[in-house]
């Protein structure tokens, strides 16, 4: 069984954390991911830095720039991922071009070797790149589905069966790291997405504090926190582990 399915089968709301791998360097980012795992993150999103992160706000853009300047590559990120200890599930998270360049079959096989359970490609809707999907299916790596506020109901229902693990619901139209807009409308929408897609739903975009997380946790199967953690790395560099651990524990306690 894919580890993501085990995690989302549990009653508890999963904590999903994102960091861009390779910031401040590939070697130094290993202890940062380890800190997230040790502090209770259920799912680690391993961000693959890209030169043109068009869906990301300034915090993740700068993180990707630092990672690339320090020499991060997809292969180095995969190697680093293989060294993370513990039973957190791992989702490789990035833009299509580095994956296309690496080769889909090779990527899916390496994901199995280093213990990655899902792949989320920001700029590749399910209609594109059937070869990628086939490679993931052959290796039991879940393609993670993105659902946006603009996605119509019939599209959610049509796309759900092709995905696995969980659906990542984008809480607002915008880029990563903007101010969170929660509320009852969001909770209702999450319930609707779950029903239409037939998948557990993790909600992300803008969730920065334990209070934000708590406000959506009751309605969601998972809560994703990214830019807030990335900002800690920006402020503390290789010394960020303690602060990351502190925020992760607080988020975990809040959901």
């Amino acid at each position: 069984m894919n580890r993501l399915d085990e995690i989302f089968a549990s009653e508890a709301t999963a904590l999903v954390t994102y960091l861009c791998a390779g910031d401040p360097s590939v070697d130094e980012s290993l202890p940062l991911f380890q800190a997230l795992a040790d502090a209770g993150a259920d799912v680690l999103e391993i961000g693959v830095p890209f030169s043109d992160p068009g869906a990301d706000g300034p915090a993740i853009q700068r993180s990707a720039e630092r990672a690339l300047a320090a020499g991060a590559t997809l292969e180095k990120v995969l190697e680093m991922t293989g060294k993370i200890q513990g039973d957190s599930a791992k989702v490789l998270f990035g833009y299509l071009n580095p994956f296309l360049s690496y080769g889909y079959e090779r990527l899916a096989a390496r994901c199995v070797e280093v213990g990655i359970h899902g792949l989320l490609v920001v700029d590749c809707p399910p209609e594109e790149e059937p070869e990628l999907r086939a490679a993931l299916d052959a290796h039991n790596i879940h393609p993670i589905l993105l659902i946006a506020p603009t996605t119509p109901d019939d599209r959610i229902a049509a796309l759900g069966p092709s995905a696995g693990g969980f659906a990542y619901y984008v809480s607002m139209t915008g880029v990563t790291g903007a101010a969170f807009q929660g509320g009852q409308a969001l909770v209702d929408r999450i319930a609707r997405v779950r029903k239409l897609a037939g998948l557990p739903v993790a909600v992300g975009f803008g969730i920065a504090t334990p209070e934000d997380a708590a406000s959506v946790a009751s309605g969601a199967d998972g809560v994703v926190v990214g830019s807030a953690l990335v900002r800690i790395v920006e402020a503390n560099g290789a010394e960020a582990a303690a602060e990351l651990s502190k925020l992760t524990s607080a988020l975990k306690a809040a959901i």
């Binding site: 690339l68 209609e127 603009t150």
Partner: protein, 394 residues
């Protein structure tokens, strides 16, 4: 030639709609609105009236006698530089802004490199009283200060982009970020035959008037079909605009000229087709300048309008199928061609356009002297005055 794109915007293995999920439904909405408008005689009549009376179409076809004598074949210039705002870009902007109005959008955003598309968008927005935000690489706002001033004069807000390489690709990233945030009320006016479906086909159709007119004008001049058509290619809108009417005339050679910058071997160039690597950027699969890890490499060209690491997907398709040939011209060759055309014909071309002129001696080598060659004179060079003053010590 098979009809492209298919229903999902693919040109053979190229094109598509590689965007974040938030933008997929709006692009579908845009595709439907565009197809409906383009099939509506009332929309076409309004567009064509503005092209005639506001833009000044049809643009002239001019037989360049002295240039012909110098390069050794008969050279016909399609004078897009004589359009209102000084380039072909306005053809597309008029159409897209009319569509935005029809869709009830109340805010326009655009990206620009050389500033010609930004100026054309600002112009159409002034005409239709719509607020306009133009993203422009910080480096380009320096190179093209004149166009920044023109945009501001017409009421547009120019936002310099400092992220990444601070050029056209980064301006496009920033415009996409704006669009994904404000997608409800905002229309993104893309300036080239690039980006996610339906932009490449929509911009092609809105620029196709160039080739349709030229075909009729050559007929009237007693030439019939030309032997070759030449245009510069960054994203490729002026080239696709003049190629499209001739795509099924297989006897007509189509030649796109990419920017070789400081030379292909220097690594500092903008010739994505010559680079021969397929990748995905800005919503499209196409030839892309990238390193061995799939990271996009900065392009370089003296002309800001060609300074883009990708190329429109239909050009990628034309290259792959052999329908068009793509060659490259260096910064120096473009500067030399700028002086040549200025002195021989009294026409100062845009540095982008000068790449097409610079390619002529090479093209004549395989067409021979008894050939009619149609060149898209896509824009005028006023905007490049500061660069020319510096480079040519004027």
């Amino acid at each position: 030639m098979p009809v492209v794109p298919d229903a999902r915007g693919h040109y053979g293995p190229f094109g598509g709609r590689y965007v974040a999920e938030t933008l997929v439904p709006p692009l579908e909405e845009l595709t439907l609105a565009w197809e409906k408008a383009w099939a509506d005689p009332a929309f076409r009549a309004e567009y064509e009236d503005l092209l005639a009376n506001y833009v000044g179409r049809p643009s002239r076809l001019y037989f360049a006698k002295r240039l012909s004598e110098t390069v050794g074949a008969r050279i016909w210039l399609k004078r897009e530089d004589l359009n209102h705002t000084g380039a072909h870009k306005i053809n597309n902007c008029i159409g897209q802004i009319l569509l935005a109005k029809r869709m009830g959008k109340t805010r326009i955003i655009a990206e620009t490199g050389a500033g010609q598309h930004g100026v054309a968008t600002a112009t159409a927005c002034a005409l239709f009283d719509l607020p306009c935000v133009v993203y422009m690489g910080a480096e380009d706002t320096e190179r093209q200060r004149l166009n920044v001033a023109r945009m501001r004069l017409m009421g547009a807000e120019v936002r310099p982009v400092h992220s990444g390489t601070a050029t056209l690709k980064d301006a496009m990233n920033e415009a996409l970020r704006d669009w994904v945030t404000n997608v409800g009320d905002t229309f993104y006016c893309i300036g080239s035959v690039a980006g996610p479906h339906p932009y490449p086909v929509m911009v092609r159709e809105l620029q196709a008037c160039i080739g349709i007119e030229a075909k009729a004008q050559l007929e009237d001049a007693g030439v019939g079909l030309p032997d070759a058509i030449v245009a510069c290619v960054g994203g490729g809108s002026n080239a696709m605009g003049i190629f499209h009417a001739f795509r099924d005339e297989l006897g007509v050679k189509l030649i796109g000229v990419e920017a070789a910058g400081k030379g292909i071997e220097s690594g500092e160039h903008a010739s994505s087709i010559a680079g021969d690597q397929v990748g995905v950027l800005h919503g499209q699969k196409t030839y892309l300048l990238q390193d061995e890890h799939g990271q996009v490499q900065p392009a370089w060209s003296i002309s800001a309008g060609l300074d883009y690491p990708g190329v429109g997907p239909e050009h990628a398709y034309f290259h792959k199928t052999g329908r068009a040939q793509y060659i490259s011209v260096t910064d120096q060759e473009a500067l030399d061609a700028t002086q040549l055309l200025s002195r021989l014909e009294g026409i100062v071309p845009a540095l982008e356009t000068a790449h097409a002129i610079a390619a002529l001696p090479r093209i004549v080598q395989f067409t021979g002297p008894d050939a009619d060659i149609l060149v898209n004179l896509s824009g005028r060079g006023d905007k490049d005055t500061e660069t020319l003053m510096r480079e040519l010590k004027l």
